[in-house]
Symmetry: C2
């Protein structure tokens, strides 16, 4: 709904809506809203923070799919943005989504000034060159190279972990979580990011392309380092279970165990797409 308010009819709007409406799991906004709810934030308080997050995630997919980057033709079961439109339009659609993300938060009349600033600081830090963008750069530089488990985790922490952490921290802040709970939820978010990535890697080996909506085995084709590649399939599953325990303990310490967040941890560690 926000996209139409912030764009004008035409090719750019069509291209942005195409990628936003392509769906996906909406995992990041759901995590943000579930965390806000767990900490008792008023309903609707996290809507722009969640939409901004989905915009940043969608922009990153559009740019990562470009021929100069991962060169993917299919995303969420549909042609990627540059296949449906063209490369120039896809680059601009990504740029537009990134720009709108902070605009949306800055213009939300239901947020306090200090909430807006917190959200923009955390979102840009997570998405920027000490977060997601650096992660994508490192991911590209590591293609075709043997890398250590430590390097692999550092890449994922930047590439996907930081935005998941924003989701959790933004939700907790909007629910006025204590400093200590914020810290525990950050730890939970870090574990969750690794669970997410390990399961992604496992699905690239064992998954069903039709259920996932993109080809499997592409990590091997692209010569990417993965958890199953480094630890074997059983080792990867074991590592994942370790992080599930870490995440659940953190929830308990922060006093939000038994909420929908526990179910999300279970879902993320067992999802089939």
């Amino acid at each position: 709904m926000y996209v139409r308010d912030y764009t004008v009819p035409g090719r750019l709007q069509d291209s942005i809506l195409y990628s936003i409406e392509a769906g996906g799991k909406r995992l990041r906004p759901i995590l943000l809203l579930a965390t806000a709810e767990a900490f008792g934030a008023p309903v609707g308080k996290g809507l722009t923070a969640a939409a901004a997050l989905e915009m940043v995630h969608t922009y990153s997919l559009i740019h990562d799919d470009l021929p100069a980057m991962d060169d993917d033709d299919i995303r969420r079961g549909l042609p990627t943005n540059h296949k449906k439109f063209d490369e120039a339009t896809a680059i601009l659609a990504g740029d537009a989504l990134l720009t709108m993300s902070t605009q949306l938060i800055a213009e939300d009349p239901s947020l306090e000034q200090e909430e807006k600033i917190f959200l923009i600081q955390e979102l840009t830090k997570a998405a920027g060159p000490r977060g997601m963008v650096e992660g994508q750069m490192q991911d590209m530089l590591s293609e075709g190279k043997e890398i250590s488990l430590e390097s692999l985790e550092a890449i994922h922490k930047n590439k996907t972990g930081e935005l998941l952490k924003y989701a959790i921290r933004a939700g907790a802040m909007l629910g006025k979580a204590s400093e200590q709970s914020m810290q525990q939820m950050s730890e939970m978010a870090e574990a969750l990011g690794l669970i997410f990535q390990i399961q992604d890697d496992i699905l690239d080996v064992t998954g069903d392309a039709e259920v996932i909506g993109k080809p499997v085995g592409s990590d091997v084709v692209n010569d990417k380092s993965t958890y199953p590649g480094l630890l074997g399939l059983d080792g990867a599953k074991e590592q994942k279970n370790h992080y599930v325990k870490t995440a659940e303990s953190a929830l308990t310490e922060a006093g939000v165990e038994g909420t929908v967040l526990s179910q999300l941890i279970q879902y993320l560690s067992t999802r089939d797409h």
Copy 2:
């Protein structure tokens, strides 16, 4: 100086620094700081707003130069970012600069909360899909087509005018300009944007490639609509002089005539690069 604080050493940082340090006229930050000074803002108050603006401008140049867009090899007398590095790195460097721009403002301890929010709102509005990004889309769609003077001005208003307006409005706001002065300075900024663009088009016909730092005649090669193309060279100069008068009147009405802003109008309308 900000770039190093917000990035980590490596290829992405090198690529960002390469384009930021390539220089250029620094017109936008100078305009912002000159306007802030004209309205009596404390020295240093506009530094992050100005740096953020230059980051957005630089990101837009990096992305516009890409092969899928304007496909330029030379910028500011040096190889373009994707020629010096590669396309993937250039896309990410642009993304990083855009993300850092709002981060820089949000984290500036010398700005009030409401100043941060005003600056972020205006910068994202100017840069986004109702401003610069839409302008670039329309510019690409109009290549090879005959367009009216009205359409040409609409494209330039979005593509370059909105960011110049941000420069002027941000500076005036930091100097606590009145509502009425803000309105007059917005009109001045709109005229200035058109002066800038007309002179750009004129230089593409009459300029010296070595002084400009990029090839001349590229508008004709790329089949772009320009002021000299639509109005003839003399007609374009006349149109420019009309806007110079508009801009100078607005300065007088806002009570900041005779400041460095008057000199900047003169400089922009007569610059040779």
